[in-house]
């Protein structure tokens, strides 16, 4: 399997700076979205740093870092190692500079290996899967209200009105012990992956996202329409959208690549 991807980030209509960052690499099959937080400009610094460290990890020797989790594949452990590196990098940067103290970021990352997708996330940035016309959220937000729903302390309705909606229970770069939540998925030909920051999913419902993606002529247009939709409803936060499309590798692709190589 291979992935084609596109992404877009937008300031929104209320914020004065964009603290979101994203990265996509079709070759290594890596998609990332990070939503930074912290005073001054430190949110931007945190999300940028996390994304850069993870990108560099997949261009390096990819050594195991942190605890190896035997419930998951080697590929998923590599993705987790990349997040562990990013966590340490943000934590150390925050310790070194008083202006950056307390900064942190969410992260949602997917990495494709053959037909297996590794998924990792910290915080409330999300990954969705669109398959056969339906949408499913692949990540569970690490927010206080979500944990309260899980432990049946409040209902989903109460959560929507909660004053504590934006309190995260986990963020990258806040503590050495921060661990990402991991998951794995077998992907199919024509699966669509959507990664986004809360600026999108706080403004529009999952079904509306699905409609926009399925009715757009191509994924670039879908990214722009999703951002427009969030802005039309207020654009209260930075909005970042990354869309990946899974395609089966065909034999003539290999041939095409071979010819390209010869041409050089």
């Amino acid at each position: 399997m291979q992935i084609t991807a596109t992404g877009k980030t937008d300031l929104g209509l209320v914020r004065s700076n964009n603290e979101d960052n994203f990265y996509l690499d079709e070759k290594t099959g890596l998609l990332l979205v990070a939503d930074g937080m912290g005073g001054h400009a430190s949110g931007e610094t945190a999300s940028k740093l996390a994304v850069t460290v993870m990108r560099d990890y997949f261009h390096g020797p990819q050594i195991q870092f942190g605890k190896y989790n035997y419930s998951y594949s080697e590929a998923t452990n590599r993705l987790n190692s990349a997040i562990n590196f990013a966590n340490l990098a943000v934590l150390e940067a925050a310790r070194e500079s008083p202006q950056l103290r307390g900064m942190g970021t969410t992260i949602v990352a997917v990495h494709l290996n053959g037909n297996k997708l590794s998924i990792a996330h910290i915080g409330d940035s999300r990954a969705y899967l669109i398959r056969a016309g339906s949408i499913e959220q692949l990540t569970h937000d690490h927010t206080l209200v979500n944990e309260q729903i899980k432990s049946e302390m409040i209902t989903a309705k109460e959560a929507a009105q909660s004053a504590m909606k934006n309190i995260l229970t986990k963020a990258l770069g806040i503590s050495e012990d921060t661990e990402a939540e991991l998951d794995e998925l077998t992907v199919f030909n024509d699966d669509i992956l959507l990664l986004c920051s809360d600026g999108l999913n706080n403004m529009i419902r999952d079904e509306a996202m699905l409609d926009i993606i399925l009715s757009s002529p191509h994924h670039d247009a879908a990214c722009a329409s999703l951002i427009n939709a969030a802005n039309e409803l207020g654009g209260w936060d930075n909005i970042t959208v990354v869309i990946g499309h899974i395609k089966k590798k065909k034999w003539h692709f290999a041939l095409f690549k071979l010819m390209e190589a010869f041409r050089r």
Binding site: M37, R131, L144, S151, S162, M164, N166, I167, T169
Partner: protein
């Protein structure tokens, strides 16, 4: 005498009698009411008390002070009002009740404001207040009729499928087998099955054309297969 109750969700942490003219609230130990929590500023807010007349003043704290869910900088509070600071609440108990509401609030909640984080210890305290954190259910299908590679399939992915498509958890064989016969989703609250597009499938002998929440023991008939759903508690 007016007083406030410091609470962590339902649990009362401490009661404070407001006898001083000014009562300080914050994370630092020199405060009168100390709330040791990352979401609370060092000097977060103060309470100015004159008998039963109590005024809350936010000291430009990072995460703000909320009265009955509304962000406040300087507000009078009455008997029964709830002050939210970080993840703690202070319930006001005094002899002065609020008069009928004069104006409606049109304050935007904090939901779209700054994101903040609390420490894992605090989270544990809040969550463990009710210890109902259930593990995700794990289940799958037993093959009753039809030819498949295995007799039993465990469905451990969040979204999986039955069909001829590469990667399906239960792979169908044969020229006329559908690419996708059914989608199976696994959520915290349980499993559900959906026939894709215009297709149909049979559950317990009944034709289903939309999402169906699977229960232990359900019989699913799809593309020449008869399967029994099971879930481990």
């Amino acid at each position: 005498m007016a007083k406030v109750l410091l609470k962590y969700k339902e649990a009362v942490v401490r009661e404070f009698i407001l006898e001083k003219e000014t009562t300080t609230i914050g994370r630092k130990p020199e405060n009168d009411i100390v709330i040791d929590n990352q979401a609370v500023s060092g000097h977060h807010a103060l309470l100015k008390t004159d008998g039963d007349h109590i005024v809350v003043e936010d000291l430009n704290s990072l995460n703000g002070t909320y009265i009955n869910g509304h962000k406040a900088s300087r507000t009078e509070v009455f008997n029964g009002d709830v002050i939210l600071i970080g993840v703690h609440t202070l319930s006001v108990s005094s002899n002065k009740n609020k008069e009928a509401e004069k104006k409606t609030f049109a304050v935007r909640g904090r939901s779209m404001d700054e994101t903040m984080i609390i420490s894992p210890d605090d989270k544990k305290k809040i969550i463990s207040a009710s210890d109902k954190d259930k593990p995700e259910p794990l289940g799958g299908f037993l093959v009753l009729e039809g030819s498949t590679d295995q007799k039993q399939y465990e469905f451990n992915e969040k979204v999986s499928a039955i069909g001829k498509e590469e990667g399906c958890a239960i792979m169908l064989k044969g020229l006329f087998a559908p690419k996708l016969a059914a989608l199976v989703n696994r959520r915290k609250e349980g499993y559900f099955i959906t026939p894709p597009g215009s297709k149909q499938l049979k559950i317990n002998g009944k034709v289903i054309d939309r999402r169906y929440d699977l229960k232990d023991g359900d019989i699913v008939e799809v593309a020449h297969l008869k399967l029994q759903f099971y879930v481990n508690e």
